[in-house]
C-alpha cells in the first residue's frame, strides 16, 4: 500500500512529535506519583500544574476550572451526572438528536430512570431551531447539553445563544466541544457555558486523556469516587504522561489556531473538486462549519464500498453508511437531518489536520472520480431513475 493519506482527523489524530517528546520523560525517568510526599513525586505534580494551565489557556479558563479525565466519553458522562446532582429537584433535560453516542445513550438511560428528555431536531443543514429550544425550556429543566460542532458534518451550533436561553431558566449548560478544541478559538471566561468536554486525541495528544471544564462556583459532584486527586473531583491516579501530552498539545493548538485558514483552504479545494463529480452534494451547513470537515453524499453508491476503494490508495476517510457500523442503520446524524436515502448510505466524511498537504488533497481528487464511476457502474440505480427511486425508497421506509 502507498503512503497513508490520513483524512479522518475527526476520528482521531496523529500525536504531534513535540507532544510525544514532552511526554516521554514521564514514562521513563519521572515516574513518581504526584500525590506523594517526596520531591520525586512532587516534581511530577508541578508538571501536572503546568499542563492544567496550558489546557486552561486553550479554553480561556482558569487553571482551577480544569479536571483531567480519561476521554471525551468520561467527560460527557461526568458532566451530565454532575448537572443532575447540582439541581436534584429538576427532572427535565434537553439535548439534540445529533449528539455523539456518549451523550445520547446517557440520556436514553436517564429516561429509563424517570427523567423527561427533549431531543431537539435539526434541519436539512444540521442547524438547530432556537425557537424549538425556547419552547421546550421550563423551570423544571435541569440541563441543556449540546455539542459545539457536529463530528460528522462539522456544522457549528450557536452555543452562546443556546446558553443564554438555558440561563434564563436557570438550567445548567454543558457543551461537548470535543471536535472544536484546537479548531476554533475558545474563551470560557465570558461565556454562558458551565461545563465543557474536550478530548486529547482529537488535537494531537494521545488517546486515553481528556479534560472537563467546570465553571468556578458550579456545584460539582464527581462520577468517580476515591482519592483526593483532581481536588476530589475525579478520583484515580493521574495518567501523568497523557496529561502532560494534552497540556503540550493544547499549547500547540493555541499557536496553530492562526494557521487554520490554510486547513480551510485545502478543505475547500477538496470539496470543490469532489462536487465536480456528478450527483454529489454537501451534507451540513456550508457557511457555518468546522474548517477541517466536509461531508459529501455520493448518490446511488454505498459508503463502505467507497471507503474500501479509497483504502486501496491508502486514503483514510469515514462514512455514515450502515455497513461501516455493523448497526444496519445509517448515521443518526444524517437521518436526523432528513437526508434522502439516495444520499444517506453514500456519504463520506473527510476531516483534515494541520498535517494535510495540497499534494494529498490532489491525490484524492485524482482517484475519486474513478472510484465513483466504477461503483456507479456496478449499481442498479442511477440518476435517470431519480424520481422513481425517491418514491420507491419513501414507500419502503413508510412500510416499515
Amino acid at each position: 500500500m502507498s503512503a497513508v493519506i490520513y483524512l479522518d482527523n475527526n476520528a482521531t489524530t496523529k500525536i504531534d512529535p513535540n507532544v510525544l517528546e514532552a511526554m516521554l520523560p514521564y514514562l521513563t525517568e519521572y515516574y513518581g506519583n504526584p500525590s506523594s510526599m517526596h520531591s520525586f513525586g512532587g516534581q511530577v505534580g508541578k508538571a501536572l500544574k503546568q499542563a492544567r494551565c496550558q489546557v486552561a489557556d486553550l479554553l480561556g479558563a482558569e487553571e482551577s476550572e480544569i479536571i483531567f479525565t480519561s476521554c471525551g466519553t468520561e467527560g460527557n458522562n461526568t458532566a451530565i451526572r454532575a448537572a443532575l446532582a447540582a439541581q436534584p429537584d429538576r427532572k427535565h433535560l434537553i439535548t439534540t438528536e445529533v449528539e455523539h453516542a456518549c451523550v445520547l445513550n446517557v440520556f436514553k438511560q436517564l429516561e429509563k430512570q424517570g427523567y423527561i428528555v427533549t431531543y431537539l431536531s435539526v434541519n436539512r443543514k444540521g442547524q438547530l431551531d432556537l425557537m424549538e429550544l425556547e419552547a421546550a425550556m421550563t423551570g423544571n429543566t435541569a440541563l441543556v447539553s449540546t455539542m459545539y460542532a457536529n463530528n460528522e458534518t462539522g456544522t457549528i451550533f450557536p452555543i452562546e445563544q443556546v446558553g443564554a436561553i438555558a440561563k434564563e431558566y436557570g438550567a445548567t449548560f454543558h457543551v461537548d466541544a470535543v471536535q472544536v478544541a484546537g479548531k476554533l478559538p475558545l474563551n470560557l471566561k465570558s461565556s454562558t457555558v458551565d461545563l465543557m468536554t474536550i478530548s486529547g486525541h482529537k488535537l494531537h495528544a494521545p488517546k486515553g486523556v481528556g479534560a472537563l471544564y467546570v465553571r468556578r462556583g458550579f456545584r460539582f459532584r464527581p462520577l468517580l469516587i476515591g482519592g483526593h486527586q483532581e481536588r476530589g473531583r475525579r478520583a484515580g491516579t493521574e495518567n501523568v504522561a497523557g496529561i502532560i501530552g494534552l497540556g503540550k498539545a493544547a499549547e500547540l493548538a493555541q499557536l496553530h489556531l492562526a494557521d487554520v485558514a490554510q486547513e480551510k483552504k485545502l478543505r475547500d479545494r477538496l470539496e470543490k473538486g469532489l462536487l465536480a463529480i456528478p450527483d454529489t452534494e454537501i451534507n451540513g451547513d456550508r457557511k457555518n462549519r468546522l474548517p477541517n470537515t466536509t461531508n459529501i453524499g455520493f448518490k446511488y453508491i454505498e459508503g463502505e464500498a467507497i471507503l474500501f476503494s479509497l483504502n486501496q490508495y491508502g486514503i483514510c476517510a469515514s462514512s455514515g453508511s450502515a455497513c461501516t457500523s455493523g448497526s444496519l442503520e445509517p448515521s443518526h446524524v444524517l437521518r436526523a437531518m432528513g437526508l434522502p436515502y439516495t444520499i444517506l448510505h453514500g456519504s463520506i466524511r473527510f476531516s483534515l489536520s494541520c498535517y494535510t498537504t495540497e499534494a494529498e488533497i490532489d491525490r484524492v481528487l485524482e482517484v475519486m472520480p474513478g472510484i465513483v464511476d466504477r461503483l456507479r457502474d456496478l449499481s442498479p440505480f442511477n440518476n435517470d431513475q431519480a424520481e422513481w427511486l425517491q418514491d420507491r425508497e419513501e414507500a419502503v421506509v413508510s412500510n416499515r
Binding site: 446511488y300 453508491i301 454505498e302 459508503g303 463502505e304 464500498a305 474500501f308 476503494s309 483504502n311 486501496q312 453508511s321 450502515a322 455497513c323 455493523g326 448497526s327 444496519l328 442503520e329 445509517p330 436515502y341 439516495t342 448510505h345 457502474d377 456496478l378 449499481s379 442498479p380 440505480f381 427511486l389 420507491r392 425508497e393 419502503v396 421506509v397 412500510n399 416499515r400
Partner: protein
C-alpha cells in the same frame, strides 16, 4: 475495519459478471432478472439470468449491486456459482454456499450472502411465473417491522444455519437490527426452534433404540411417527418459500407426500423432495426411504 478474506476483496476490486444481460430475442433463450433490497435498506441486488428454455440451464448470470464490499463480492460469487447449473440445481444454492465460496464472511455481513440467495430465488420464480408476492407473503406473522422480516423467514434461517443468538439472526436477515424491540421475540423463536430440534432428535433416537433393542425393523406405525416428526422440521423451510408438505401415506419404504402452495406449482419440487425431504428422512429415519409426491 472489516476483516474480509482475500477472495472477498478480489471479487470486490475485480468483480466478475457485472452488468445487465441484453435479451438477444433468440428462440429458446429467455432473459430474466430478480431483485431484492433497496437503497433505504442499504443494499440492493438485481440478478440477471440468461436461461436455455429447453434444458433449463443458466447460460449466463450477471449482477448489478448497490451495497458494500461484501455485497458486491457476494453477488459476483453467486453469478460464478450458478453459471451452467439447471434452475433446479440453482435453487439448491444456499447462502452458506455463497459465503463458503468467499472463504467466509464476517458474521455481521452474512446478510449479503442471504441477499444473493434471495435474488436468485426471485429471478427463478419470476421466470417460472410464480407470483413474487405469493412467495414473500408467507403465512408468518411479521416479527421485525423495521426490516419487514416474518416469523417463517427467521425460523428458516435459524434452522438452515443453526443459529443460536439474536445477533446472528440480525446478521443474517437484518431482523432486530433497527429499533431492536423485537429482540425478545427473536430470542423466543430461536428457543422454540432449538427445542423442536432437540425434541425431534430425542424422539427419533428413542424410537430407533427401541426398535434395535427388540432387534426388529421399525413397525409402520413407528415409521409414520418418525416421518411426521422429521416433516415438521422441514416445514418452516418450505413455508418460508410459500409452500408446504403433508404426509399422505407410507407403503413399505416409499413415503408419499402432498406438496402444497408454491411447492405444488414449483418445477423445482423434485429437487425439494429429494434434497430437503428425502435426504433428511434417510439420515434420521431409515437409509432406504424413497419419497414420492402425489397430487
Amino acid at each position: 475495519m472489516w476483516d474480509y478474506t482475500e477472495k472477498v476483496l478480489d471479487l470486490f476490486y475485480n468483480p466478475k459478471n457485472q452488468g445487465a444481460i441484453e435479451d438477444p430475442n433468440e428462440s429458446g433463450i429467455a432473459v430474466v432478472f430478480g431483485e431484492v433490497g433497496s437503497i433505504a435498506c442499504g443494499d440492493a441486488l438485481r440478478l440477471h439470468l440468461k436461461i436455455d428454455i429447453d434444458t433449463d440451464k443458466i447460460l449466463d448470470a450477471r449482477f448489478q449491486t448497490f451495497g458494500c464490499t461484501s455485497a458486491i463480492a457476494s453477488s459476483s460469487a453467486l453469478t460464478e456459482i450458478i453459471k451452467e447449473l439447471t434452475l433446479d440445481e440453482a435453487l439448491n444454492v444456499s447462502n452458506r454456499d455463497i459465503a463458503e465460496y468467499l472463504g467466509g464472511l464476517p458474521e455481521e455481513k452474512m446478510h449479503c450472502s442471504v441477499m444473493g440467495q434471495e435474488a436468485l430465488e426471485a429471478a427463478i420464480y419470476k421466470y417460472r411465473g410464480i407470483e413474487v408476492e405469493e412467495h414473500e407473503d408467507d403465512d408468518g406473522r411479521l416479527v421485525c417491522s423495521c426490516f419487514g422480516v416474518s416469523e417463517n423467514r427467521i425460523r428458516r434461517v435459524v434452522i438452515e444455519n443453526n443459529l443460536t443468538a439474536v445477533e446472528q439472526v440480525t446478521s443474517y436477515v437484518k431482523a432486530g437490527g433497527g429499533c431492536s424491540s423485537c429482540a425478545a421475540e427473536i430470542e423466543d423463536l430461536i428457543a422454540a426452534v432449538q427445542q423442536e430440534k432437540a425434541l425431534t432428535a430425542t424422539r427419533v433416537a428413542a424410537e430407533i433404540a427401541t426398535a434395535q433393542e427388540r432387534n426388529r425393523p421399525l413397525t409402520t406405525v413407528q415409521k409414520i411417527t418418525l416421518i411426521q416428526t422429521v416433516l415438521q422440521e422441514v416445514r418452516p423451510v418450505l413455508l418460508a418459500d410459500g409452500g408446504d408438505v403433508e404426509l399422505y401415506d407410507v407403503e413399505g419404504d416409499v413415503v408419499k407426500v402432498v406438496l402444497k402452495g408454491a411447492c405444488g406449482s414449483c418445477e423445482s419440487s423434485t429437487a425439494t423432495l429429494k434434497n430437503a425431504i428425502e435426504v433428511r428422512l434417510r439420515e434420521r429415519v431409515l437409509p432406504n426411504l424413497v419419497v414420492e409426491a402425489v397430487s
